[in-house]
């Protein structure tokens, strides 16, 4: 898995980094810490002057240290190790003294982009073939990011991969996953599995219906998902919700901590839950939001 954590110098970004560190400790994902600086120095993007005065470079360094603290030093897959000269048996009875330098088993990239934050995040996600973008936001000001409104919402709307908007100070007691189609990737199931384990949360799988009954393929997919998780000693609850009641349902369930929506081409959610509503969910909900693609 490849995870991109988009950060700025605010506390909600530190929370996002911690969430990703816990996830990476279990999954050994390749991780990119991406800082986005929206204001360029008067001399233009090539100038390094801004790095001396702006808090972002220092914050990113601090986030890297925070991330690495979640691993024991001798077990950390992200640290480049150099062991010096070692005797290596080249063939039976013949030994060479070679300089052995082992690289990190997993990537931890730390990067800063200058310019429009949404474009920067999405460009990075595309170039690095990211599976999951994670970012935090200031929930006390309608999910602002770097003092600007709408950034997480735009990232969620325009990303082609899954996006987690991690809200700070909201303990995740239950993860509520909604689906209305049967195209659910193995990776997304595993991602939810990891989040349930990390947060020691309950899991609820919600089938969305257009009438009273579930579509046959959705019901079959939910059965497969139920079997997947029970085989891993997770007992999800199953619930059905009419699409017309989804707003009310989300308002009620937001208290549990994490709301996940399986969206995608076959999903009616793209129509019933258009960009404006997804934005409203991210902005207004007290829970974290995970859009699965």
């Amino acid at each position: 898995m490849r995870i991109l954590v988009a950060v700025d110098q605010n506390p909600y970004s530190a929370h996002a980094v911690s969430e990703v560190a816990r996830l990476a400790a279990n999954t050994w994902a390749n991780v990119t810490l991406l800082g986005v600086h929206t204001r360029m120095s008067p001399a233009g993007a090539a100038s390094r002057d801004w790095t001396e005065s702006h808090p972002l470079p220092g914050a990113i360094s601090s986030y890297r240290e925070t991330f690495l603290k979640y691993f024991k030093e001798d077990e950390c897959p992200y640290i480049q190790r150099e062991f010096g000269y070692e005797l290596i048996e080249r063939k039976k009875g013949v030994w060479d003294e070679l300089y052995v330098a082992k690289s990190a088993r997993k990537e931890l990239k730390v990067r800063i982009r200058l310019g429009n934050p949404v474009k920067g995040i999405l460009a990075e996600a595309q170039e690095e073939e990211i599976d999951l973008i994670v970012l935090g936001c200031d929930n006390s000001h309608g999910c602002e990011w770097e003092g600007l409104s709408g950034i997480p919402q735009k990232v969620v709307n325009d990303a082609t991969c899954s996006v987690l908007v991690a809200k700070k100070k909201k303990k995740v007691d239950k993860i509520v996953c909604c689906l209305d189609h049967d195209l659910v990737s193995q990776q997304s199931l595993e991602m939810i599995n990891q989040l349930v384990t990390l947060h020691k949360a309950k899991l609820e799988i919600v089938g969305l219906t257009e009438g009273k009954e579930l579509k046959g393929e959705v019901e079959q997919k939910m059965e497969a998902i139920l079997k997947y998780y029970t085989a891993r000693d997770i007992e999800p609850w199953i619930e059905i919700v009419e699409l017309a009641s989804l707003d009310a349902f989300i308002s009620q369930e937001a208290k549990w901590g994490l709301m996940a929506l399986w969206m995608g081409k076959k999903s009616m959610l793209e129509k019933v839950f258009p960009k404006g509503k997804v934005g409203k969910l991210i902005k207004g909900s007290e829970s974290s939001v995970l859009i699965l693609r």
């Binding site: 019901e219 009419e242 009641s245 009310a248």
Partner: protein
Amino acid sequence: MIKTLVSLNADLASSIALRFVCRMAEVVKMGIETIHVEETDSEGNPPGTGWVRRTWEKGLLGTAEAEISQLINAERSSCPTLGSPKMMVGEREAEILRELEEESYDLLVEGILLSFDASHFENRMRSKLYKKMPCPLLLVKNLVGLKKIALLVEDHTDLGTLVPIFSKLFEEATLEYDLLRVILQKPGRLSFKKDVQDKEVPASGDADEMLTNVRNMLVEAGSSPQEVKTIRDIPARIADSLQEYSLVASCVPRQMARKSPMLEVLSRVPSAVLLCWQ
């Protein structure tokens, strides 16, 4: 041994119900039979009699039998005593009712998916089968580990019906249960400090007498609740507080009022609901 009939369709709700019953059989002595009734469509009147009718029924049951057998085979490893299902053609509720009466079952089990829309459960409770069935009903909504049971009583609960049935079903089970006296409040009512304190209160006064009476009846019948308490709240919050229980048991009238607060509680409980009829 609790003689149990599990009504199956080829759907997720039935799959969950069957798995739940198999888990329950690990802690409760149960003899499990399964049944599927294939309903004809509204214009599917059975043709003729004798071999003609039998051939027609056989054709109708063909696919259903394969699907139901697949469902049962998936559970046989954890529930080896599961036999072949009884397959019938006809009006579903009438056939199940006949089977319950003729074979004197102690319990009927059905699956129903938990729904955000309470009317889903409420409409199910208006079933003609439930109005006439001679035994208790276990409605399974989710597959949960069997850990603890909640036995709910209200002031007008028919204890003479509830206690013997509950005791018989769980007399040899190694399951703990709590006895909960439920006082249902209407939503929108102001919550005064006293009410807030009383949400979960130790028994006192008349409640004390009632709960003591129920407790004594249960002890006399051979079991003892782990905790005894009164909960006073609106249906939605009472249902929330019951989430920790694997099974919620109660005694209800066969014809519950459409807006019955207890019906709302039972519709919102996410695990399994055991109903005996008063």
